[in-house]
């Protein structure tokens, strides 16, 4: 149970009375649906009854299984299965709108799409984009969108541009930064290296705008590590040297912000002979951020 405020004794009693009819209905309906299933009633009528039950509890996974059994049977009996599937997509859409974090509902949608002869992938993308407007971090929705993109053969550039759009809307959209890193990871080393300069500027812009938000900083660390991985030692140290100026600027404006400081620590740890500076930063860091006392950079 998440984010349900505690109730007083009075509220508990009110809730108990209010819920009694609801519970009775749910229990009766559960019995009915289980009986239908035991009797292998794989009919449209049973599909409807199972739907009413799921609407009371979308997490009742056995009922989702029953729905699939019915749909399998009905699609064998009917020539126009796509009409059946479209109705099911509508049912799932309602389920997802009511409960956007239900693993079972999202999986069922994939299962239906996989069975359709001509699914409308653009409609699916549209639905995902709509949901990501409401909750921009829903990883179920991001995952489903990724799956659809793969099915429809969407280009990497298209997905990359989508992350740009999401990030510009909200710099702290970690899900979008993640997706961006995923796309870049598929590029060959040389292509990635070529993109690096513009990408570094892009992410600097983000952390300048909201320096206390973690998302861009994690991405920045990764970019630096990637570059070092694919460069000679000389290239790497040249790049690292250029990174301090913007960071120092930020530290001057926001002296109590922890991320510019811990990022500077990270950069210094990638260079030789900067131990003294690291110690200085560490003292400051522990001051502005008493919760975090240990840093991986100290291990090396």
């Amino acid at each position: 149970m998440h984010s349900v405020r505690r109730r007083t004794a009075e509220e508990k009693e009110e809730k108990r009375i209010a819920e009694k009819a609801h519970i009775d209905k749910f229990c009766k309906l559960s019995e009915t649906v289980m009986a239908l299933r035991n009797n292998e009633e794989l009919t449209k009528e049973a599909l409807k009854t199972a739907g009413t039950l799921l609407e009371m509890n979308f997490e009742f996974y056995t009922v989702w299984n029953f729905r699939r059994e019915i749909i399998q049977r009905l699609s064998e009996e009917n020539s126009d299965s796509d009409a059946l599937y479209k109705e099911e997509l509508q049912f799932i859409q309602n389920a997802i709108m009511a409960n956007p974090k239900s693993y079972w509902a999202w999986f069922h949608r994939k299962w239906i799409i996989s069975r359709m002869s001509q699914p409308s992938y653009t409609k699916e993308i549209f639905l995902c984009n709509q949901l990501l407007e409401k909750d921009t971090r829903n990883f179920h929705c991001w995952g489903y969108r990724r799956w659809i993109c793969q099915k429809m053969g969407a280009g990497e550039q298209e997905i990359f541009d989508f992350t740009t759009k999401k990030i510009e809307h909200l710099f702290s959209n970690y899900s979008a930064w993640h997706e961006r890193s995923r796309i870049l990871s598929t590029y060959p080393a040389q292509q990635l290296k070529g993109l690096l300069q513009s990408e570094l500027e892009y992410v600097q812009n983000a952390f300048f705008t909201s320096p206390d938000d973690q998302s861009a900083w994690f991405y920045y660390r990764w970019l630096i590590a990637k570059f070092i991985e694919n460069s000679t030692e000389e290239e790497a140290s040249q790049l690292l040297e250029t990174q301090f100026e913007p960071l120092d600027q930020l530290i001057e404006v926001e002296p109590n912000s922890r991320w510019p400081l811990n990022t500077k620590l990270y950069l210094l740890s990638k260079m030789n002979g900067r131990g003294e500076e690291m110690k200085e930063i560490l003292v400051k860091l522990r001051e502005v951020d008493p919760t975090h006392q240990k840093y991986p950079e100290l291990n090396s």
């Binding site: 149970m1 998440h2 997490e59 008493p290 975090h292 840093y295 991986p296």
Partner: protein
């Protein structure tokens, strides 16, 4: 909001024992489909409070066994379909109750090995959803039953590693965003498979310790609220990576103690919320993991 200095052990025991009689609350019914896991969390919580003897052992064993299907898998409740999530909880529960001799081990092992796919991943049941949670939930019972030989552990390992991300964390399938719960299952799976040295523990450890917020609680992803259950996913992952001291344990403990319900017992996700068995169990786990010799051990 009330502040607490200690763990309210007696109240929590009462809370757990009252769960099965709570049938006039709709919350009881909406988790009916995962009753086996609920029982596992409740019984394990009692173990952590040294109170297992207060439970009816025989009744529990019979109940769990009644959820097993001819296929060998367990449903989340009697007459609910078999799934790896509940098969894992059932085997864990029988192990805790010292009743593995009552289990048809070969049947369970056959069910679990039937879930592994060519690429090393595991599906949750016959319908085919794939998730690294299911890798973990397959490997745990096999490890308990000493039957890891029944699956391809090499492929299982490489699949889990293929789900690693830019931040060192793991997602539910390759390419999916990192999430503390998912990281727990992947690091846990790698621990069972002897693959922890393939993780960059500094990169992942940094991401994990950054889940701690100034109020002491831990969140599950960047820019999210703290939640007691995430404390467990993060803390146990850090423990497996030998980096538990990267978070502030005292602050975390205070946060968890403040999530206790001082009237009805139990621990909630956040201070002031309704307590439930899931967060009670994981709150107690964190307490035990971070402070092994503290108040439950009297």
């Amino acid at each position: 909001m009330s502040h607490h200095e200690t763990l309210l052990v007696d109240l929590h025991k009462k809370h757990i024992r009252a769960l099965e009689n709570n049938t006039d609350s709709f919350e009881y019914w909406v988790i009916e489909h995962l009753r086996v896991s609920g029982v596992y969390w409740g019984v394990s919580a009692m173990v952590l409070m040294n109170a297992l003897q207060e439970m009816d052992r025989e009744k529990l064993i019979e109940y769990v066994l009644s959820c097993q299907h001819p296929s060998g898998g367990f449903g989340g409740n009697v007459n609910h379909d078999p799934h790896i999530l509940y098969t894992c909880s059932a085997v864990q529960l029988l192990a805790i109750l010292d009743a593995l001799d009552r289990l048809d081990v070969d049947k369970v092992v056959t069910f679990i090995s039937s879930l592994q796919l060519e690429d090393g991943s595991f599906k949750g049941d016959q319908w085919g959803e794939i998730d690294t949670r299911f890798s973990y939930c397959s490997l745990v019972p096999l490890a308990i039953l000493n039957r890891l030989d029944a699956v391809d552990t090499k492929k299982a390992k490489s699949y889990v590693l293929s789900c690693q991300n830019f931040d060192g964390g793991f997602g539910c399938v390759p390419g999916a965003e990192s999430h503390a719960g998912q990281i727990f299952t992947c690091v846990g799976a790698l621990a069972i498979l002897g693959g922890l040295d393939e993780i960059d523990a500094d990169v992942l450890g940094f991401w994990l310790c950054e889940r701690q917020l100034p109020e002491g609680g831990l969140n599950g992803r960047p820019e999210k609220l703290a939640d007691v259950c995430y404390s467990w996913w993060v803390v146990s992952s850090l423990a497996m990576l030998n980096r538990i001291d990267w978070i502030d344990g005292d602050k975390l403990k205070k946060y968890i103690l403040n999530c206790q319900d001082d009237e009805a017992g139990g621990i909630a996700d956040r201070p002031g919320d309704v307590a439930d068995v899931f967060h009670t169990f994981f709150g107690l786990c964190v307490n035990q993991q971070v402070f092994p010799s503290s108040d439950t051990q009297d």
